[in-house]
Amino acid sequence: MNEISLKDLTVPRGLGLMSRRGFLSMSAAIGAAALIGVDKGQAANAAPKGQVVIGFSQEPVNFHPLMLAIEVDQGVHWNLFSPLWGVDDKGNFTPQLAAEVPTVENGGISADGLNWKIKLREGVKWHDGAPFSADDVKFSLDLLNNKDFKANRRAGHELVRDITVVSPTEITWRMEKVYAPYVSILAWTFIVPKHILEKETDVNSSNFAANPVGTGAFKWSERVPGDHITLKANPEFFGDGPYVETIVFKYIPDMTVLYTQFQTGDIDYIGLQGISPDHYEEASKLADRVVVPVALPFIENIALNLGKPVFQDKAVREALYYAMDKQAIIDAIYYGLPRPTESYLPYEASAFNPDLPKQVYDIEKAKKILDDAGWTPGADGIREKGGVRLAFVNSTTAGNHVREQAQQLLQQSWKEIGAEMTIQNFPPAVMWGDNWMQSKFDSAMVGIGFMIGPDADTTDYFHSKSINAKGGNGQNTCQYENPEVDKLLGEAADTVDQAKRNAIYKKQQEIVRADLPYLPIFQYAMVEGTKKGLEGYKPNVNTQTNTWNVNEWKWTS
């Protein structure tokens, strides 16, 4: 019964922490025509009815949508608040608080990409009845740039200058420099009410989070700490829906219990991490339940810390990759659900490069590479070169039984080529603290979503200026440095033409595949379950959460 763990923070945490959910077909980035969202006027709604219970294995606790928060919190934010525009399951930007998504074509963005003009939707009201206006947008962007504010995300916003409220429904600003991913970042940035927050003397006060007011399809109703959050339908919502009267986010910490409650019908939808792979077969036979595996944008990797002497030799990285039995890991441990991959981008991304060389499992080849590079076996069978032993530690979140099995499998195959891997796992707060951020680990097994929302910019992970251990800023914890990649990343961020950007990112994937700072294993798939009769749910790889469109959910039976 190894799936019964008291608190399996593991796949969940590992993933949750790393997520950069989003792999959008780039078709709708800057330059493409903006889609018009469904407006209330087009279809009058029947009165919202019924209740949907959404089961989460982590507890959402942060309800100020611009403050520090993790993935699970965003699952609630999408229902309470609205961004200027969102991003749908096809990767199209859909106007929310903005009347249209600004592009060069419609004049919202100047040809040089520097001046932005946003027209806002008219007649939108906050949940407390106060009117929404351009002042709220300015307030939100200013707040994100307030140095004292515990902002969740500053990247991109830092470049915004001269925000001007032209009228209650129009706002303009200038970008310090062209930054192509900013449209995607704004699709994740929720607007907060100025008339409430400006009264707070402390920008980090928790008063607002205890009683949040937004413009979303649902209003705040109740929070029972450690148990659940209840939201009620907002009849004045500007967009489609809502069709259900009450949504409940129920916190169920144990994954086995979460599944059991889905089985018994106590929860209507399994969110966040879904159903664990070992329950997939059984779940798909349940009566009156719809159970489907969906692709996630996370890539499972072995991250190699290039700051450690043993990994500085490219031959070692190549040999380890050849000696990795991916298919065995996927079939034996993950029930064949995920898809093997060579790239750090998900298959669905438009910048995804399908022509990368395929890894093959070849122990002899791996041995030969090491022999040729001068790594000779010592007395204990472990190879050495110039006083460096081919021995290292591999770490991940402790208690994740699935990952632990994969680690053991790797340990065995790598032993065959004369590499000694020691397994040493840590609780999440230790593993992803300084150990990870300051590159103190040797190697790690980690699931990462590399994209910024629907954008393939990976400066944060592959640029040499993003190494914290070397005084940089970012998440390049492998300490990967390649001047060519730095150059490509810079070029892509300055390029507005999407096709050209994709070409640059494809080139980058080739280089990274050859350099192997990460050994990619597979792209994650998650098994999602809904009760039959609950319609409207759509998986969306472009948002960080699956509860991005609850306004469209409805009971048909």
Binding site: R13, I70, T260
Partner: protein
């Protein structure tokens, strides 16, 4: 008596201070920290995290942090949670009732059933009932709670469908019977272990007493057997149970980690577990101090009750 109380209270305050200091040190010296969960938020930078650590005062030396926490606590401010920014006392308060409901019910079951089984086992020593009770208690004490809890859910909720698979109440219902319905499984699972414990204590204490001279005297006087057992034997056998009850008091409020997790019960045990895994120092320290206070009060109460119940003991 008054002198004893004052003396003990002073001792307790000192003890509490030492406990809080050790707890604080252990917590802060453990690797990891409350900001680790945000370290991998997309776009998060090390610079920004350091700035936040500074705002939260996490970068200062540990003795300074302790002193600030302690002086605030002394003035009645328990601090705010790192997770959701709410006051620690409010968070504890919002989990306390759930735990009290669960632990209270299971304790009542445990005391009633446990005392009854223990007494009966002692009177009918080496009978079939006694053997079954002994074996049953051994099994109950050795079954892991998480396993028993999951089996209970599997049998009664998934297969038979007669009990809910956890939760404290149906969201949107919440009637009295709904609460009772949800309470059955977790309180029985939790009660099982305590019943075993109480029955063992009660049995040995009862055995001690019924072999005493005064019981023989009572019987020789011709006191009816029933009266001998209830008025003479049981009253005396229950005395040591006061100590057991005193030791059990803190668990009434500190909750059950495993049972609360398995049955999705929003009580103190789970709050402690969650706060610990997020390194939510203020909440963890709050629970620690509260538990320590309860242990000390429990002991003090037991001592006082003992003196009241047993005339042989006088406090000097």
């Amino acid at each position: 008596m008054l002198k004893f109380l004052i003396q003990r209270s002073l001792q307790n305050v000192l003890l509490l201070w030492v406990v809080s200091m050790i707890g604080f040190a252990v917590l802060y010296l453990a690797p990891g920290g409350p900001l680790a969960q945000f370290a991998l938020v997309p776009g998060m930078s090390q610079e920004q995290l350091l700035k936040i650590a500074e705002q939260m005062g996490l970068n200062r030396p540990i003795h300074e942090q302790y002193w600030e926490w302690f002086t605030r606590l002394a003035s009645g401010d328990w601090g705010h949670s790192y997770r959701d920014g709410q006051p620690v006392l409010w968070i504890i308060g919002s989990h306390l009732l759930a735990t009290l409901e669960l632990m209270g019910t299971s304790s009542i079951i445990a005391v009633i059933v446990g005392v009854w089984v223990g007494v009966l086992g002692a009177i009918k020593r080496y009978s079939l009932f006694d053997y079954l009770a002994t074996i049953g208690a051994m099994i109950a004490l050795s079954i892991p709670t998480f396993w028993f809890g999951l089996i209970t859910i599997y049998v009664f909720s998934v297969k038979l469908g007669i009990l809910p698979p956890g939760n404290m109440y149906t969201i949107g219902n919440g009637s009295f019977w709904d609460y009772v319905h949800h309470l059955i499984a977790p309180s029985l699972v939790l009660g099982l272990v305590t019943v075993a414990l109480w029955s063992r204590y009660m049995r040995s204490s009862m055995l001690d007493v019924i072999n005493q001279d005064y019981i023989r005297t009572a019987r020789a006087k011709g006191v009816p057997e029933r009266q001998v057992l209830t008025r003479h034997a049981m009253r005396n056998a229950l005395l040591p149970m006061i100590t057991v009850a005193g030791l059990q008091l803190p668990t009434l409020l500190s909750g059950a980690l495993v049972t609360e997790t398995i049955f999705t019960w929003p009580g103190m045990g789970r709050l402690f577990l969650d706060s610990l895994s997020y390194r939510d120092y203020p909440v963890v320290m709050g629970i620690l101090v509260l538990s320590a206070v309860l242990v000390l009060i429990g002991n003090l109460l037991a001592d006082i009750l003992y003196a009241v119940a047993d005339p042989r003991i006088r406090m000097n």
